[in-house]
C-alpha cells in the first residue's frame, strides 16, 4: 500500500503548498526568467519552446537542454521547474540530477510512453501532472504526483478547456462527498484507483494535493476566473511572452491571481495591456491534434 504520510512525500506536497496563490510562468531563456521573477512569479517553467510554438512548429517536442535550464537556475532565486515527456524516465532522471525544484510530466511534450506514466515515488524531486478529470488526477496521485494541474488546451490562449476541466473535477468531487460506500467502490472501479484514495476525496471534497489551473490562460481575467472556479494557483504558458508587453501582462496576471476576489484590482490590472496572444479557438482544433488527450 502507498504511504501518503511518508516524510519525503510530505515535503514534496509542502513545496506545492508554498506555490499557492501564485503564478508559474513558462520561460525560454534567462532574460524571460528575470522578467517573470521581477513581475512576481512564484516559479518559472524552463522550456525550449512555449506550447503555442510547439503547436505551430510540429515535430517531436522534448526535454530542454540542460545548459538552458542551468542558465535559468543561475539567474533567478524562485523555484525552477522543467518538463519531461510522459513516461520518459531518463529525462526525469536528468532533470532530477539538475536539481530542478519540480518536474512537469507534461502532455505538451511528445509522449515517450503511451501506456505508462513515470513512477514518481522513485524520485527525490516532486512532480506535477496534468489532468482532465478526477480519474486522471487520482491515477497521477497514485503514481506519486505531488501537485495536479488541469490540462486545458495548451498553447491556444483559449481558457475554455481549463474551465471545463476545473468544473468537471470540482463537481465530481462535490458529488463524492454525499455518495454511499457502494457508489464510492463503483467510482474506484471506474477510475482504476484505490478505494482509499477515493475515500480521501469523499471525506474532504478536495484532492489530497494542491490543484492548480493551466492551459490557455492569457489575461488577468482568465487567471481570476480559474481562481474563482477553485484553482489554487495558475500556470501561464504562452500567454505572457507571446503578448505585446510581457512584463506588464505578467504583473497584471500576478495581481489578478492574488486579488481575484477584489474586482477593482482585477479591473485595474486589465487596463492598457496591449494585444494579448492571438490564440486559436480550442474547439477549432481537430481531435487528433489536441494535446490534452495524451
Amino acid at each position: 500500500m502507498i504511504d501518503y504520510s511518508n516524510k519525503e512525500y510530505k515535503v514534496k506536497v509542502g513545496l506545492a503548498e508554498m506555490l499557492k496563490g501564485g503564478v508559474i510562468m513558462d520561460v525560454i531563456n534567462p532574460e524571460q526568467a528575470k522578467i517573470a521573477e521581477d513581475a512576481g512569479a512564484t516559479a518559472v517553467m524552463a522550456l525550449e519552446r512555449v506550447p503555442s510554438d510547439i503547436r505551430s512548429d510540429g515535430g517531436v517536442a522534448r526535454m530542454s537542454d540542460p545548459d538552458m535550464i542551468e542558465g535559468i537556475k543561475k539567474i533567478v532565486t524562485i523555484p525552477v521547474m522543467a518538463k519531461c515527456r510522459i513516461g520518459h524516465i531518463s529525462e526525469a532522471r536528468i532533470l532530477e540530477s539538475l536539481e530542478v525544484d519540480f518536474i512537469d510530466e507534461s502532455e505538451v511534450l511528445t509522449p515517450a510512453d503511451d501506456v505508462y506514466h513515470i513512477n514518481k515515488w522513485n524520485y527525490k524531486v516532486p512532480f506535477v501532472c496534468g489532468c482532465r478529470n478526477l480519474g486522471e488526477a487520482l491515477r497521477r496521485i497514485a503514481e506519486g504526483a505531488a501537485m495536479i494541474r488541469t490540462k486545458g488546451e495548451a498553447g491556444t490562449g483559449d481558457v475554455s478547456h481549463a474551465v471545463k476541466h476545473l468544473r468537471e473535477i470540482n463537481s465530481i468531487m462535490k458529488s463524492l462527498t454525499i455518495m454511499s460506500d457502494e457508489e464510492l467502490f463503483g467510482i474506484a472501479k471506474n477510475y482504476q484507483v484505490s478505494i482509499d484514495l477515493v475515500h480521501t476525496v469523499a471525506k474532504t471534497g478536495k484532492l489530497p494535493v494542491p490543484n492548480f489551473a493551466a492551459g490557455g490562460v492569457a489575461t488577468p481575467a482568465d487567471a481570476a476566473l480559474c481562481m474563482e472556479l477553485g484553482a489554487e494557483a495558475v500556470f501561464v504558458g504562452s500567454g505572457i511572452f507571446k503578448a505585446d508587453n510581457p512584463s506588464k501582462r505578467a504583473k497584471a496576471i500576478v495581481a489578478a491571481t492574488t486579488h481575484w476576489q477584489d474586482y477593482t484590482i482585477v479591473t485595474d490590472a486589465s487596463r492598457g495591456l496591449g494585444e494579448a496572444m492571438k490564440g486559436i479557438q480550442a474547439s477549432d482544433i481537430p481531435d487528433e491534434e489536441l494535446l490534452q488527450t495524451r
Binding site: 515535503v11 509542502g14 503548498e17 508554498m18 496563490g21 532565486t77 524531486v125 492574488t258
Partner: protein, 201 residues
C-alpha cells in the same frame, strides 16, 4: 470554553501556504482573516506571515502598499513568520540577488534557500524550548532559509545541528521551518499564548 474567543489573527495571504495556517487557527477555534491589503489589518491582535516565495511576497507588499502598515503593526502587535515569512521579518538578507526587501522587525541575518533546493528539503522532529519546557514538534524544511546571525537579545527557541531555526524577540517570532503543514499546533499555541495574549493583558 474557547480561550481564544477574544482575539482575531490575520494571515498575510498575498501568496503562499496561507490556507495551512488558516486551517490550524480553525483547529484552535481562533477567529481569523486573510490580509491582502492594509485595511485588512485593522483591529487584528496578531499576524502570521506564511511560507511561500519571499520574492513574490516582497514585491506584492510594495505593489499594494502594505509595507508601512506591516512595519507599524509589527512594532506593537504579535507577528510570526514561517520560512518566507521569517525572511520577510529579518533585518538583513545575505546575497540578496532578487532584491527582497525585508520588514526589519527582528535582528537576524538570513540566507535564502540555504538548506538547499527542493531535492534537499526534509522533514524532521525538533525539540522546541518553549517557556522553559522542551516540546517535540514535527518540522518541515522546504527550500528553507538559514539564520546566519542572531542579534543580541534575540532568544533562540530551537536549533537544528546547533544552528538557530526558531527565534523570538518580544512580539516577533520567526521559524525557518513549517509546522503548519500538519495538525500539530504546538508552536501556534505558543505564539497565541505568549506573544498575542501577553500584549493584550
Amino acid at each position: 470554553m474557547n480561550k481564544y474567543k477574544e482575539i482575531e489573527i490575520g494571515v498575510l495571504a498575498l501568496q503562499g501556504d496561507y490556507e495551512c495556517h488558516k486551517n490550524q487557527l480553525e483547529l484552535l477555534k481562533v477567529r481569523n482573516r486573510y490580509v491582502k491589503l492594509s485595511k485588512h489589518l485593522e483591529k487584528l491582535d496578531g499576524l502570521i506571515i506564511p511560507g511561500g516565495e519571499s520574492t513574490t511576497i516582497s514585491k506584492l507588499i510594495n505593489r499594494f502598499d502594505l509595507r508601512d502598515s506591516l512595519v507599524s503593526f509589527g512594532q506593537t502587535k504579535a507577528v510570526w513568520g514561517t520560512c518566507a515569512g521569517m525572511i520577510m521579518l529579518a533585518s538583513e538578507i545575505e546575497e540578496n540577488q532578487a532584491g527582497v526587501e525585508p520588514l526589519e522587525l527582528i535582528d537576524i541575518v538570513i540566507a535564502r534557500t540555504a538548506f538547499g533546493r527542493q531535492v534537499f528539503s526534509f522533514e524532521t522532529e525538533l525539540t522546541l524550548t518553549l517557556n522553559g519546557k522542551n516540546l517535540k514538534s514535527q518540522a518541515s524544511f522546504i527550500r528553507a532559509p538559514r539564520i546566519k546571525r542572531v542579534g543580541k537579545n534575540v532568544n533562540i527557541l530551537a536549533t537544528y545541528n546547533d544552528e538557530a531555526v526558531l527565534v523570538e524577540k518580544d512580539n516577533i517570532l520567526a521559524s525557518s521551518f513549517h509546522t503548519e503543514l500538519e495538525n500539530d499546533t504546538t508552536l501556534l499555541e505558543y505564539f497565541l499564548n505568549n506573544l498575542v495574549d501577553n500584549l493584550n493583558k
